[in-house]
Symmetry: C2
Subunit: 331 residues, 2 copies
Amino acid sequence: MVETPVLLDVVAPDIDRIEKAIRADIDNLSGDLDKLLVEILKYGLFGGGKRFRPLLAVVSSRLCENFREDIYELAIAFEYLHLATLFHDDVIDQADTRRGRAAVCKVYGVSAAILAGDFLHARSMEIIGRHGGVDALDIFCQATRGMVDGEFIQLRNTQNYNQSEDDYFEAINGKTALLISATAEIGGLAGGADAIEQKALREYGRNLGYGFQIVDDLLDYLGDELKTGKAVGNDLAEGKMTLPLIIAMEHAHKKDKEKLLHILTSSEEKVASFSEVYDLISKYNGFGLARKKAEQCMSKAIEALAVFPEKKQKDREILAGLARYALHREK
Amino acid sequence: MVETPVLLDVVAPDIDRIEKAIRADIDNLSGDLDKLLVEILKYGLFGGGKRFRPLLAVVSSRLCENFREDIYELAIAFEYLHLATLFHDDVIDQADTRRGRAAVCKVYGVSAAILAGDFLHARSMEIIGRHGGVDALDIFCQATRGMVDGEFIQLRNTQNYNQSEDDYFEAINGKTALLISATAEIGGLAGGADAIEQKALREYGRNLGYGFQIVDDLLDYLGDELKTGKAVGNDLAEGKMTLPLIIAMEHAHKKDKEKLLHILTSSEEKVASFSEVYDLISKYNGFGLARKKAEQCMSKAIEALAVFPEKKQKDREILAGLARYALHREK
């Protein structure tokens, strides 16, 4: 990972303008809002988000012909929507922590977390409509609806331990890829993308999202807790079937498969048997094959950018760098 | 109430088209959606809603010059947003029932209720953007944000037993009036309202919303459980300060005020002392004065419609009838 520091340097001015746009928006809204709501918004928004989604919107827009100065104001909507889903997800998952700090629903209560999520939801759509127009809003709302549908798929798949890779990709499409794909596509639209460019950005975003989520799921087994800031083994403890485990289940011999099923269906065993499951996944190369999938997704993402002209080399490189960064990150 | 059956006859064709638009939209979406999500949407949407908000949008639009056939498709967004807030409110209030049936969060669980609310939220904004354009979306999203802010005001006001009438109107503005006002205004916008007509519809909706909520709060003390389908005394049991009680607190002599405060601050007393509180509110004419306020609001609402021309008499009469209906309803 030689390139990460370079990438961070290159995007620093964009990140800075995104930060300023978020602060300006919140300052602007604050006068009219209940103090507690403002406090929750600030707690969520200034709690270490990497601004990855707004950055993606900005760079996608710049890849196209008509770069607009208000792209930063538009881009923050993607951070807002993402945060809204985190607020609600943490209520749903009864999560204690998020990004190494207490979850909003734990600090401010479930009611406040639901409501603050609704607020960000509405604000994000208002921004998209105002700065992106009705076509952008259509894409944005469809992605939002798709995300909810994805959560229902996940609810339905709970305790289904025979999921296929297709099931997994359907779930992470809703969970992660749809919003990232919409972010790139709407950024492009705002920059005047033609139909080919729009499609390319959608493809880029979708594959980036897939790759991103696979790496996330790998880190849940392989991550260094000191770096990720969260304990390994959460997914297993919750009985969540992620790609490494799905691959192992698909490839395992009868006895090993029964062993895995036994662990998954017994609530006490799941936590205690982490290293056993880890070894079984390793035995069937679940980690290696999942990583390979993530690499393929990132390659597809980068290939999709080929439609953009040579003179956009710098921004193409940033998007390619984001994909490589997401693939090699350790947290 | 001689006019209610007449009013219902007059609006029946509109209600019918609204029902069809909702069914068409859900049927259209269903193919792509998780079955459970569809089931929840149907449970919520076809559970006896009176379609009051969509009707208001349709009639407001027809009051203006350019009536559009797609107003029915637009109008359902207001039912969706309203239902989204009910889903989330029932989670927040841990409600058991809604409209005489089990609340969504009780039947399908808290997670599903939050998510289905998010889905309707996004779908409503998508519809507003598509059929109403960016200006309508702006009004819609601002109302949504204002509703959330109003909920925070309510959270803050919990256990504040010295609220003023202004506090009350601030709270019911967010809770009820903002969305009704936005509904009338956006309906008008879709019908090509000029600035004066737009303002008139906004005023009409705001006052209608105020009056509607005051009557709701009166029914919580005075309603006939057989007609309302819900027990009286809920607000008192929750320690909620509504207008009749606020008026009584303002007007009560020292000893009565202390008595009321004692009841409100003691969790056991609130339920047991319902008839005592009822009598104290009556003593200071809290019910009569609250009803008078509701009547004033409805008069203001109807007066605001004066800007519309004589030839629109029929639709003006429907909106005036809605105000009278809301004032005199017994459930």
